[in-house]
């Protein structure tokens, strides 16, 4: 049945939503710092999926965002790369100083 229905923007939004939620839950539950980072990547991809879906002329010729959707998706990809670099630097710093990557033990700034 699913195979016969036409792919619409909603389908892409649904996939994006699932990826977003998976990433968010991943960020919340993982204790490994790098696992949290992976959750962030999933969240960014879920959001990107929405931009692509709204910018796609294949899915919705009338009223699509057009090029803006793809451009913003490009910016998201680039910024995600930057974010990953900084986050990794922080993670490695944390690991060097505390000999752990457990985010629960990063509580030095607790009042």
């Amino acid at each position: 049945m699913l195979l016969i229905g036409t792919v619409t923007v909603s389908w892409y939004l649904a996939v994006g939503a699932v990826l977003f939620v998976l990433g968010a839950v991943c960020m919340a539950t993982k204790r490994n710092l790098l696992g949290v980072l992976m959750g962030v990547e999933l969240v960014l991809n879920g959001a990107n999926m929405n931009f692509i879906a709204f910018g796609s002329k294949v899915l919705r010729p009338e009223g699509s965002l057009g090029l803006d959707g793809q451009l913003i998706a490009l910016f998201v990809i680039v910024l995600a790369a930057a974010e990953a670099a900084v986050a990794l630097a922080i993670a490695l710093n944390f690991y060097n100083n505390h000999n752990t990557v457990d985010v629960d033990r990063a509580n030095e700034l607790n009042g």
Partner: protein, 246 residues
């Protein structure tokens, strides 16, 4: 692509379901796996099939960039970090049960809201007639590049001046992003550098403490001898790289 659409109208659905299943399935793999290296591998597959979905939606350039920057660059970095920190205790880390419960409740309700939104709008749900001209109009790399340099060729058809002014390209964000990347490059390199200098000063300070200690307890040779022994024991271990054993 448009030719195939004529021959078999369901190809888009077919590939969409394949890619979406892989993306979501390995997304669950990332969430549920405890081994951090496997998580990274599942993430690679998930993001790779997301690139496939981008291709399906007609965003070829973004799909290729997703594969190149995201999967080929960012995730390699991530796995690099995983391998640098993947010591025995940190490979498998359990999550507290209450965390799982809370996260599932919050995530489930968030998913409900998002899905409700996704299927809520009539305009997004109803398929539109796709004429083949639009399907084949995926040569969007040139307009994308021009838009990044501030020329919008795709909005020229829209004759209203407001649109022409408001959508005058992405030159400013592009420059901001490039400066941002430069800053990030320098910052990350600065933060992740090896802290040899600070270690050396630490050593020096400890040595200074030792000197002070020695000066204070000069009459007690026993203490010094004890220290030397322990120090020797330490230094005997240090130069031996654990990698050189066996």
């Amino acid at each position: 692509m448009d030719l195939i659409a004529v021959a078999w109208p369901y190809w888009h659905q077919f590939f969409f379901i394949i890619f979406a299943t892989i993306a979501i399935g390995f997304g669950f793999g990332v969430l549920l796996s405890k081994n951090v290296v496997r998580m990274a591998f599942y993430l690679v597959l998930s993001l790779g099939s997301t690139a496939g979905l981008f291709f399906l939606a007609g965003a070829e350039f973004v799909g290729a960039m997703q594969l190149m920057i995201y999967v080929g660059g960012t995730l390699v970095l991530l796995i690099f970090g995983v391998m640098l920190t993947a010591q025995k205790d940190f490979i498998n880390m359990d999550t507290h049960t209450q965390d799982w419960i809370l996260a599932t409740i919050v995530g489930g309700s968030l998913l409900m809201v998002l899905l409700f939104g996704a299927f809520g709008a009539e305009d997004w749900r109803t398929p539109q007639d796709i004429n083949d001209a639009h399907v084949s109009a995926t040569k969007e790399a040139t307009p994308l590049g021009l838009a990044l340099t501030g020329i919008r060729v795709d909005t020229l058809g829209e004759s209203t001046d407001a649109v022409a002014d408001g959508k005058s390209g992405y030159l400013m964000p592009f420059i901001i992003v490039s400066f941002h990347l430069l800053v990030v490059l320098i910052g990350a390199a600065y933060m992740a550098r090896t802290k040899k200098l600070s270690h050396a000063t630490d050593d020096k300070s400890s040595r200074a403490k030792l000197m002070l200690f020695k000066m204070e307890h000069e009459e007690e040779p026993l203490e010094e001898a004890k220290y030397v022994v322990t120090h020797k024991g330490k230094s005997a271990l240090n130069p031996l790289d654990p990698n050189d054993e066996d």
